[in-house]
Structures are given as C-alpha cells and as structure tokens.
Symmetry: C2
Amino acid sequence: MTQPIIRVAIAGYGNLGSGAQAAINQNPDMTLVGIFSRRDPASVTLIDNSVPVYAMDDIAQYKDEIDVLILCGGSKSDLPEQGPKLAALFNIVDSFDTHAKIPEYFESLDAPAKQAGKIALLSVGWDPGLFSINRLYGEAILPVGETYTFWGKGLSQGHSDAVRRVVGVKSGVQYTLPLESAMAKVRSGERPILSTREKHTRECYVVLEAGADEDTVRTAIVNMPDYFADYDTTVHFIDQQTFERDHSKMPHGGFVMRSGSSGTQTDTNHQALEFSLKLESNPQFTASVLVAYARAAYKMNKAGETGAKTVFDVAPGLLSPKTPAQLRKELL
Amino acid sequence: MTQPIIRVAIAGYGNLGSGAQAAINQNPDMTLVGIFSRRDPASVTLIDNSVPVYAMDDIAQYKDEIDVLILCGGSKSDLPEQGPKLAALFNIVDSFDTHAKIPEYFESLDAPAKQAGKIALLSVGWDPGLFSINRLYGEAILPVGETYTFWGKGLSQGHSDAVRRVVGVKSGVQYTLPLESAMAKVRSGERPILSTREKHTRECYVVLEAGADEDTVRTAIVNMPDYFADYDTTVHFIDQQTFERDHSKMPHGGFVMRSGSSGTQTDTNHQALEFSLKLESNPQFTASVLVAYARAAYKMNKAGETGAKTVFDVAPGLLSPKTPAQLRKELL
C-alpha cells in the first residue's frame, strides 16, 4: 500500500459505535486508533479487543494521533454538545439526523472547525445522507417532477416503545412499511399528492403478559392517538421464543423516487429514478456510510478544505480508497 | 434571480442535442445562446425557434459569449475529434460512453482544458454517469460485497440494426430486458456470479415484408451469432401500424445493485442498495443529466478548477440551482 493509512477513532460505543468498528475492520486503508467512551473504559465490551478504550475526558491528548474522529452519539443531546467541542480538535464525521435542526447544528460546527483548520462532516448516513443525495440528483436532473420518500420495512424505536407501554404487552416491536399501492401509483407516473400516512402502514408483533386479552390489547394499540390511530395498523400476537428469534434485529430501509418529465409539450416523456435500501442492520449500515465519509473528510482536509460540510459537498470519488485514475478505468 | 444566468450552447443537434435544448428550457437559471451544427444552419429544424443556429466552423468567435458548451455528438468519431479542440476554448460537458476508451479520452481533454483554464467534464449521462456513481457508492460503503448492473428494458440500436438486416424484415426493433430471475437471485443476497448474457433476455418486434415467412425470419434472428444465439430471444410479429404506434420511442433504463455484508463473523448482516432508472426517452434523459452537470462545470470553473473531470469529481450540491444553505434546509 503506497497511500498512508488513515488513523480513525470512535467517540461513543453503542450500536452505531460497534458498527463503525466492524466497518473500519473491512477497510484496509484505515486503522482504528481507539474507542472513546463516557463510561468507565474497563466496563466497555468491544466486538473485538484489538483496540484500547479511553475515557472521553482524555480525548484532547490524542489530538495528533487521530486523522478523523467518528462521532457515534445520539442527535438529541450527545451531538449538539460534543460536536462543536470536538470539531475544534479533530476532523469529525457524525450522523446528526434531526432534519429540522440541521441548519443550526451546521452553524455550530462551522466556526470551530474553520478556526482549527478541520473538516466537520455532519448528517452522514442514509436519511439524512444517501437519500438526501438522491433527492438532490432527482430534482436537479428532472426539474419538472415530484420527489417521494418512503420508509421501511423498518423497526421504529419510538413506536415500539409506545407498543410496550400498553397494559398487557410483555414484549413488542413495531415496523413501518411502505404502502405498495402508493408506490405503484408513484411508479405509474401519475404524481399523486401523498402525506406520510398515506404512504405507510404499521405492523406490530406482540407477546402478551399471562392472562392478557388479545382484543383489548389490539384495540388499545390501533386506536392510540398520534402513533397508530391515523394509520392502517396490524397487530400480530406471537410467543416469546418466536419474538426473540425473529424480531431481535434492527432492519430498515426505504425508497426515494423521482417522477419527472422531459421534452416538449408535443413530445413529453416520463422519466423515473428510484433509489432503495434494504438493510438487515440499520446501525451497522449507517456506520458503514460514516466510515466511507471519514475517508472523504480526511482527503478533503488534506486538500486544504476546512469548516462544516454535508454529503452535498462531497464528490463521490472521495469516498473510495481507489485513485481517480483507477475509478475512471474500473467503475465509470 | 440574484445569481447570474448561465449561458449555455449546444454543439450537435440530433436526438441528444434537441433533448438538451428541451432540458435547458426547464431550467430558469440558464439561457441557451445557440446551437452549433456541421450541417447548413438553414437546414436545421429546432424543437422551437427561440435560438439561432450557427455553423460549427464559426464557434471560436463565440468564445466570450458561452459559459458552458454541451457536446452532443457521438462517441465513436465526433467526440474524440471535437472534444480536445473545444476544451481549449470552452468549459465543456459531454456524454462520451465508450467505457474502455475513457482513460485515453480523459487524457486528451485534460491538457487543453488546463491550458485554457477551463473544465472538461466527460462521460456524463446515466451509464457512464449516474450508474457509475452508484457502483462507486455501493463498493465504498459496503466493501465486502458484489455489484451488479442490469440494463433495460431498453431499445438497443446495434441489435435493432442487426434485426433489420435479416432478409424478409421490413421494420424491426430489439429490446434488451433484465432477467427477473437473475435480479431476484441478486436481491436475495446470495451474490451469484452472472455474465451479461445470464442477466438479460432479448425481445424483437418485427414487421415482415410481403410474402416473408415467420418461421424462417425467427430462426434467422434467434440463431444469429454474437447478437442473439447466446441469449434467450423472443420474436414478435406485428403489423406496420402497431409498430409505428408502439415502437417509435427510445426507452431505456436499468438497475445497479450492491449486495453486501456488514458486521462481524458472529453478527453478519445483509445490506442492499439498488438504483434504477425507467426512461421513456433515453436521449432526453441523458440530455437532462448533461444540463445539470453543465451547471456544475460552470460553478467548478468559477471556483478556479480546471482540467478534465468526471462525475466522480463533482460534489452533488453543484448540480442544483439552489444555494448550499437552501439544500441543507430543504433536501438534507
């Protein structure tokens, strides 16, 4: 290998952090320097023990040993607090996914990153992330048209929590499913106007407490305001063993569709783009996207770029370990 | 509009050139300065007469009036000859699609473009182009996995010509179709090894000359070496009226799939990306992609970049007329 090895570290070690460790192991041009955690380092169990765990409070000491830091904390409280501080020390990549707060979060990273001469690449993942890129390609290439995003089949954490709060539910999960009939309508080119609830159905798998009544629990779930009442909701009752066997993963995915027209009034043609993901593990896939963008952040910073960036600012070639000449030869 | 209007011109006016004119009309941040043709300008009929047609030989005179020139000639002889000359005068965008010759063509544009301080953006369209980008995203994000490209349903010009050369054929077209069973196998995650012929079938629509025999013509087509003998080929016989009504468009499309794995040996998860296009008009769509990338070429050159570039070098945000802040707010 003639290229330098990229030295990466991970801040935060939940499902996303362990996924990032696994993804780095798949990329021979990177080396994982260590994991930083707010927990007692001795208490953190890694997927493999090939790297040290350090206390988050000591992270500034490793300033010169890390090329890119991948932030694997949550968007609600971790990233807004950690992001601006860490952007002043490292090139960072994160998966901030509170769509409405992205402009504000972007600003909070931009100044410290510029000041430090670093790149802060925010909101990387699949939505925001790959889905956003496909929404952009769709409308830039076919300006006359409509864009549709469908989510699922995917495990929804918030809705699963709501199911588990119903009296009589021992274990429960909720999946959001894209509505096939709505997708078919979009694919036909008729460009319907569809609300989120007209595009999705909800499916729950529930294990009952001993003595609980199916009809009572089903009625409580499907009529729950905000969460289920406005959706077509199905409840399946299963035993605990089936639950553990079939519903312990965190699958997700979805579809971005652009339905557009090209040509003239007398020669109009329907043109359709569709991007979809089918993920057996949502956190592992998000982590894989983060790791590819960590490579891009490293290259952009090497090229002299600084400040807050999003996936819209990253040329596709920067994600690959291959050289531009190799990419032109092998993938174009 | 606070942004300057981008002044675009088109060199070459066949299906692709007229598609580019239609696409520019859909983009209010651009204005079409004119069409350049090697034919007698008076003989060129445009989709609308809002712009002048000039002789290609006079193009250098318009050097200061054109921000980006879209080259709409063919890859076989037009672009290799025109590209290097025009790259010395203008920012150019083209759809050079002879995959094997891309590295060589890239080099032929790079020096004149750099010398002139211009951008030469080559091999823009959907394959090469959007499909290439999706192949790159797939392998960069999921390095452990396989990438598959399926083409169709699409009109193949070369195979249609071959059908029309068969004795007894009055009119004929050939469509390449992706094989559903092969796509299902890929989507299942089993990562089969598939040759191009194992992924596609061929379908022909033929109008017979008076007195020609169906069986003779069918046998001649399905046994034709190189073109059809190795494929599952179906021949449909139709009348001239049906042919003209149903087979006068140039549809195309296809699928790029990445089937990969994330995680560890004890927690492996299947992850799948899929990008697809369903195009009623292949040339109009390719032209729409060229026009969006013309905007990017303009912005890159304004930012001081020069030389030959491909879609791998273009950050997604550059394709859009929206500002980076708008994109973050509306599309991320």
